[in-house]
Symmetry: C2
Subunit: 343 residues, 2 copies
């Protein structure tokens, strides 16, 4: 089982979580509705923190709940504890073992906050620290670069937010995810070709907006970890506030141009970047005509709020094949471990 | 008046805000203490958003107040309004004119939240939208790259947080800032030399942790805007969760190694990065022996919570001189305007 297998296993892993999900998620959603927290605090690092960005947008849009990152350094370096009592404190971690993340949950619980852990290991310290646990059921993830646990983190967040918001039609859309992810896997041949074309890539920006922003961050992280590309993610709105000065013939732009709501703005920006000479590669639904040199397709019809589970897939495949095209080992990235214990 | 003049004018601009500050800040602090919001929501983009990262750490550590970014896309793209009623809603913008930032304040006010604008223009739409305004008094900033308005945003945030927390000895430490920033300006000759050495730089990472994290982000943004370097900021803890795979002889590492609390961890990491072959440039207090190839000094004795106003200065000077060393125009960066109006 290598990285490519784990990428391809995502439809099955998502289906497993969807099947087991309601039993896990419903009591947590019920507890959140009963407590009606005024905001949420999120503790996560690495890939899990990109899933947290999705949570930030989704809890805001679906549940009206503002989400504050926990800035664990405030606790661990400065030994000051923010007031979490009225919050939902949410910890996300594949391994459930990073001490600074566990610490935030411990503090939340000590202050009487409602605490929830989303983790692949129900026996982990993070799970033990939380009132409620949502187990990812992604199966063991052996590759150092997280893929299927990330997707399942997104699905767990989506199930939870939809249930808290009692969103109409959510279950039917969730049930379509495995087939849609399967459809996105069909981009592999194009992703491999695009990667071959970029085999010298050592820097790029990755753009996305709204629900696509977290996806741009996760895609960038895969490129950093695996292919040693200095890939910098931006919300396309933030990119216009300064960093757009980077645009030119020496800049490769990867774009998640998948969601419908930001389409007009994102397409306008990509058109401008192409006119400035940038090389643009876009992940986009079939049939959408974005200004790009190369397109990687995902199925159309995916609603924005469930887009990230589908639109990350061509990015994962591109990162995998770029790593190989650069002569690096996707199954043995340099200098990192599966579990990082920061304090 | 060019960019270099505005960088050098910072001690004076800070002194002006400190003198006018209590009259502006005290009523806002009083209103916050009276309302006792359970969390804060922050709306900002670009450089102002880096000041917001400082606010996130400082309000957490000094006032126990968790801070949630406002994710303006949730409002402007998805037309969903999170519940802001129990929050302090804080808008930060030099110009006070970006519509999406004004929108967040409007919504906060409509929901009965306490709203505060920090802006250089008290006649701006942002100021009009807020219950309270803190005027930066930085004087007109003509350069496209923000420097003195950023520093004054930090000072406004520090004055406000210190007054809300009734922090012992804060006024005396704040009063020392102009002299300390003046001291940091003495790094210019070294910054120019380091920039000359890096005149081919087109990618790097910028590390910092705790209060230094926002500084690493702002330093990176200056390098992107001015010198067209793909400079990627990380909390040094997040860097260890994956991106450390980038380390090697082809990676330049800029580090804000200024604050005392994260010193042991940051120094250990920089030592490891040097051993992996990275070229390390560190901003660090005089007398601290960080593992680095080149050091840019700031005065010692600055408390961590007021570090960002001092530690950004060598970074600004380095960005200015690197821009010149690369044959670019610091006073006329490519493709960006002073005011960006995202919606």
């Amino acid at each position: 089982m290598g990285l490519r297998d784990e990428i391809r296993e995502q439809p099955e892993a998502v289906a497993r979580l969807l099947a087991a999900g309601p039993r896990q998620v419903d009591p947590v959603a019920e507890a959140i509705r009963r407590r009606a927290p005024s905001f949420a605090v999120l503790a996560a690092r690495g890939t899990s923190d990109q899933a947290g960005v999705y949570a930030q947008y989704l809890f805001g849009a679906l549940c009206g709940l503002p989400v504050a990152p926990s800035t664990p350094s405030v606790l661990t370096l400065y030994d000051r504890v923010p007031r979490y009592g009225e919050a939902l404190v949410l910890g996300i971690s594949q391994s459930g073992r990073s001490p600074d993340i566990v610490r935030v949950l411990d503090e939340g619980r000590a202050q009487g906050a409602l605490t929830v852990a989303i983790t692949n290991d129900p026996e982990s310290p993070l799970a033990a620290a939380a009132d409620h646990v949502i187990e990812l059921r992604a199966g063991p993830e052996r590759s150092i670069a997280a893929t299927k646990t990330y997707t399942n983190q997104l699905v767990a967040i989506a199930m939870l937010a939809a249930r808290v918001a009692d969103a109409d039609g959510a279950d039917a859309e969730l049930a379509r995810l495995p087939a849609r992810i399967e459809g996105a896997l069909a981009s592999e041949a194009d992703a491999e070709k695009a990667a071959a074309r970029h085999h010298r890539l050592d820097r790029c920006v990755v753009l996305g907006r709204g629900y696509d922003y977290g996806t741009s961050r996760e895609w960038a992280l895969k490129l950093q970890e695996l292919a040693r590309v200095l890939a910098q993610p931006y919300s396309s709105a933030d990119f216009e506030h300064g960093p757009i000065a980077l645009a030119g013939t020496d800049l490769t732009v990867l774009a998640v141009a998948a969601s419908a709501a930001p389409a007009a703005q994102v397409d306008e920006l990509l058109g401008r970047l192409r006119a400035l000479g940038c090389d643009v590669l876009a992940v986009t639904p079939e049939g959408r005509d974005v200004p790009a040199d190369v397109r990687l397709s995902i199925p159309d019809g995916v609603p924005d709020w469930l887009m990230p589970m589908v639109s990350i897939v061509p990015g994962q495949l591109y990162a995998y094949h770029l790593t190989a095209a650069k002569g690096l080992q996707p199954d043995a990235p340099v200098g990192i471990q599966k579990v990082t214990l920061t304090t």
